[in-house]
Amino acid sequence: MDLQLLIVIIVDGLIYSSYLFMVAVGLTVIFGVQKVLNVTHGSFFAFGAYLAATLIGVWYNAELPAFGGFLMIFLAAAFLGVVFGLVIERGLLRYLYHRDEHIVVLATFAAFLALEDVIILIWATDPYFAYQPMELLGWTDIAGLTFDNYNLSMVGVSMTIALIMWFTLTRTRFGKILLAVIFDREMSQSMGINVNKVFLVTFMIGAFLGALGGAYVAPTISVQPGIGVEVVVLAFAVVVIGGMGSIPGALIGALVVGISRAASVHLLPEVELFVIYAIMAVVLVLRPEGLFAPPQARKI
């Protein structure tokens, strides 16, 4: 294999992995803490993309300073994180924590279906384009090939997210509380932790990350109905491969999926669509708890 092809696969793979990590890490945080496999994560992604595209459009039409477009991306994600936290977690999930896990999955599937139409009601069916931030950053030549700097910046953003998550979980009070809740919900409750509040906050963080994935990707795609449907199963695959509820797992899962997708696109395009799910099936068969499953507490 020649070197150029190898570099393309690695760079493309890293870009794709970063995007996957952004989306999947929110899903894994919510699963880790609440034990909810959240299908509405696809809606968070889609809403993020739509709201960011709209805000970017407004921003550039008003001819405000060009780099403010990036501010809009984060603003859109933060706003959606808070709104979805309140609507989905407070309005729906908290009534279902005591029910079977597949009932909860189904409830989030129902909410996902409903939100698909809410998107159409708000933004209609025409596609949105928000290419300005991408134009702004220009491009780089790597080994004689041109890559958009915007896409490369995704690697930086997702690494920053990973670092912040690591720092929060291991070095802050909130992180310790979170680990206690994950480890033993009832025990931490009886030690005086407000579990309801922790649930709401983690859900907001998870929704923020899902929306950020969509918002950050928005300038590179045409934002149209149905973008959430594909993303949510992809995120499932990443999370399952890495280990549900594990943040390093989401990172590894995203890398595995991203690189193998890039490799198949360039080497064997016929298998592109299912290589990810084939890996997911193999991992489930050999190590059902995923490559990096968080240790399970043995309770008596």
Binding site: I103, V105, L113, V271
Partner: protein, 322 residues
């Protein structure tokens, strides 16, 4: 002769007679809804068997699509008979379920659901890429013949409807009998306490494997009927993951109390979907999602539990919950 005392037997028989008569009077679009309900209901019936064992599959579109494509492909090699086509679709999915069952019987809870999802997405990816099978456009399915006769026009759907209704009737009775047999009763034992079941000398994994094959057969049957009813098979409307969600939707909507409930639930599902789609195309998914949420929140045992509420009120005596 307990069978003559069985309310489900009589309910299904009366239901069969009613829909067979109605079949000749209905408008064609309603007949089509009936056909789709029977096809999706059959898949949901398979999920009901698994559900009773505490297992939920998020990937039964795999067997649905497999059965549908088996029918489409068998036509390519010259098999146009409806019965033969349906048998081929059913058996093909049954065999696939038998093979995958060796793996899946080791998994429970969310892992079972997700492994099914992974397999269904693999099939989706293969079908969407295979040019031979029409990739995302799918392949057309011709009107089948029935023992050498090929009905034309409206008669084609009337015949298919009668034909399917009779098979569904037999299948539903068979599943009903199965659920009250020893092997069927083990379904609930698997859900409640696997270790105790094993101590009684039964194998939980074997029980699950058998159920999985049944559910695969039923989903393949549903897919075969759907292929013949729609006259077309394609990956997006048959194998993509939201289809699997729809099947679980029907199972929840119906409740798992009775085999007849599944078909009532499937009919309700198709009616809600068709009317929502016709009268409010902008918000049909909102209505579907809303319905499902209402069921999950307020009627956790499905539409069937309404009849139990009524029954209880009539007897005005508390009966032990199932």
């Amino acid at each position: 002769m307990t069978r003559f005392m069985d309310k489900t037997f009589w309910g299904l028989t009366i239901g069969l007679v009613v829909i067979l008569v109605a079949n000749f009077l209905l408008e064609d679009w309603l007949r089509f809804i009936g056909l789709q309900s029977m096809a999706r209901g059959a898949v949901a019936l398979g999920l009901l068997i698994l559900w009773r064992a505490g297992l939920v599959s998020f990937g039964h579109a795999l067997f649905f699509g497999w059965g549908a494509y088996a029918v489409a492909l068998s036509q390519k090699i010259g098999i146009t008979d409806a019965l033969l086509g349906i048998i081929i679709g059913t058996i093909a999915s049954g065999l696939l379920a038998f093979a995958l069952g060796f793996l899946l019987r080791r998994y429970r809870a969310i892992f079972f659901a997700l492994l099914n999802l992974a397999f269904s997405m693999i099939l989706y990816g293969v079908l969407a890429k295979l040019e031979v099978l029409g990739s995302t456009d799918g392949i057309g399915v011709k009107q089948p013949s029935y023992f050498g006769i090929t009905p034309e026009g409206a008669n084609a759907h009337i015949t298919l409807f009668c034909f399917t209704a009779i098979i569904v009737y037999i299948v539903a009775l068979a599943v009903h009998r199965y659920l009250s047999s020893t092997l069927g009763a083990m379904t609930i034992a698997v859900r409640e306490n696997e270790i105790r079941l094993e101590y009684l000398g039964y194998s939980a994994e074997k029980a699950i494997h058998v159920k999985y094959v049944f559910s695969g057969l039923l989903a393949g049957f549903g897919g075969a009927v759907m292929a013949l009813a729609v006259g077309h098979v394609d990956p997006d409307s048959m194998v993509y993951w939201p289809n699997s969600g729809d099947f679980v939707f029907i199972t929840i909507l119906s409740g798992t109390g009775n085999v007849a409930a599944t078909f009532i639930g499937a009919l309700a599902f198709e009616l809600i979907r068709t009317f929502a789609f016709d009268y409010a195309p902008q918000i049909w998914q909102l209505l579907m999602g809303g319905t499902l949420l209402v069921i999950v929140m307020f009627l956790p045992n499905g539409l069937w539990s309404l009849t139990e509420h009524l029954g209880k009120r009539r007897k005005s005596a508390p009966s032990p919950a199932e």
